[in-house]
Symmetry: C2
Subunit: 317 residues, 2 copies
């Protein structure tokens, strides 16, 4: 099968062996796969991953012991828990210490004609969601994770820091709560996507006299947390989405003095993400930069690596 | 009056003018005052404070428009809010942006024969609490703040990092919840205070395979937060009590990956602290290193600055 493979370097192959089904897994033919910043980080050594990257996909189930899935178009949750530990028993397989993660940790991913995934992780896609839209379900679920973690109401002043792909998804998700939302970014053209959706935006830097009850750091930048801490109210909440390589020198004293709560936030629930695309309460189409055929996968990865790039999609049709 | 005064350097004076009462304030004759690490930091420039430091005290009210207070022995909350902002209206005067703080910010403190403090900030002391014990009410309240912020039950595995004064107070407070508690420190003799109270302890470092639901960083060290993050369970909570000068280079990625909640914690409620001393559920007497007369205040501050020192108290009698 065709596959983008990372092993020291990134290569395209058309003779990669098709994956073998393990217990409870389904075999999925990939239609589209989205390139995420994590994939680019993986090619720089992140997670020490070696194999086929990719964790955002839409595909069709070709084989499964669950016959109701066969032939169905699906998206899939990416964490595969052991199923037996206390985390898995509490429904927190995302945090299973022995988990594998599709295309990120001990499990080949979606940049290939075929992938395998635990059938329980799959979600059948409604017809109203296009293949291109479906690759956004995984990052959109990560945006919805915030609503699982904090109550946001129309009484809250909220600021999203960052106008990258995740920042734009988070902004759209949070705007559904009716909160007083401002998204701060560095790119006028990206912020204009939100402006057209009647979401308030501002070009960075945020004036330090502006204060918010809840601030989301989706900057992907070393300094994002410190910026968030400088504009959050005492007793406010900062949602941290940013991971960066290594240590970041950060003045954390205001966390103590102002009794701020910092909440780390990673993967999220697929159901509300699928619902949001189905009901068009979130529009991901303006976030697509370009679609490349899988044969041009390396070019696509280079293209996606450019500063300020939005979603780049691999097409397997 | 006698006073320890910090202005560039620290000096003892016996001719310092007695403070003038403002609206709603009471005049308090100080009996004992405790030296806190914050006082030592102030003599190094922390908060840019200039004047009389000291914020832990027991005293007797000599003048007050509230006649019920006159002649009474009191301890006092140290944050003085403006009384009119949204924080003060919500009962969060501790976070009033225009607040002054006794002996820390724009307000002379307790290292003097007399201090003034808003009468509302005062708590009358029961006879069963000695003067020496009473100087611990303020830091003990800071320990109780943790219980205001997180629910801790007998089902929780909890670790307190740090066997300094605050760590020992926090350990005693948290042990009242019945949680599975371990306090980790570097000083066998300090940990032995807790062992005598049947609180489990361990000498640092904590084995990284040991994991906890809730970890309190009361190390006062640059690396405390990173240690806490290394031993907290996924979805666990870290209570941050440590402030350090400037930035600390910290790997914060596990906050995101493990979806940790980091909660800053500062001043706390006096009532449960007073109750705990009254009912002897917390014993602060083993935490007293030495009592100095106020005339030897500079010597006392030097003594308190020594590494590993416990509570040093100034006596005004």
């Amino acid at each position: 099968m065709r596959a983008l493979v990372f092993k020291e370097g990134l290569s395209f192959r058309d003779d990669y062996p098709q994956p073998v089904l393990n217990n409870n897994e389904a075999l999925i033919r990939v239609i589209y796969a989205g390139i995420c910043n994590t994939d680019i980080e993986i090619t720089k050594g992140y997670m020490g991953f070696s194999g086929i990257p990719g964790h955002e996909f839409a595909g069709v189930v070709e084989k499964s012991s669950d016959s109701g899935l066969v032939g169905k178009r699906v998206a899939g949750e990416i964490n595969i828990g052991c199923g037996t530990c206390t985390y898995c028993h509490r429904g927190l397989g995302n945090h299973c210490p022995a988990r594998s993660v599709l295309g990120i940790l001990n499990k080949n991913g979606a940049f290939a004609d075929y992938l395998t995934l635990t059938a329980n992780n799959l979600h059948i896609l409604p017809d109203s969601i296009s293949d291109e839209e479906a690759v956004f379900i995984e990052p959109l679920a990560a945006a919805f994770e915030i609503l699982e973690q904090v109550d946001i109401t129309s009484a809250d002043k909220v600021c999203v820091l960052g106008d990258g792909k995740l920042g734009l998804l988070i902004s759209q998700v949070l705007s559904t709560t009716g909160c007083a939302l401002t998204t701060v970014g560095k790119h006028k053209e990206k912020l204009s996507i939100l402006e057209k959706m009647n979401i308030s935006t501002a070009l960075a830097p945020v004036p330090s006299e502006r204060h918010f009850d809840i601030v989301i750091d989706s900057t992907g930048s070393q300094t994002g947390l410190e910026t968030a801490l400088s504009i959050v109210n005492p007793r406010g909440k900062v949602i941290l989405k940013t991971t960066v390589a290594g240590s970041r020198p950060t003045d954390l004293n205001s966390i103590v003095i102002d009794e701020i709560t910092v909440i780390g936030s990673r993967c999220g629930p697929f159901r509300p993400a699928i619902k949001a695309l189905e009901t068009k309460s979130v529009d991901v189409t303006p976030l697509i930069s370009k679609v490349f055929p899988i044969e041009a996968g390396i070019e696509a990865m280079n293209y996606a690596s450019q500063k300020g790039m939005m979603k780049v999609i691999l097409n397997f049709k």
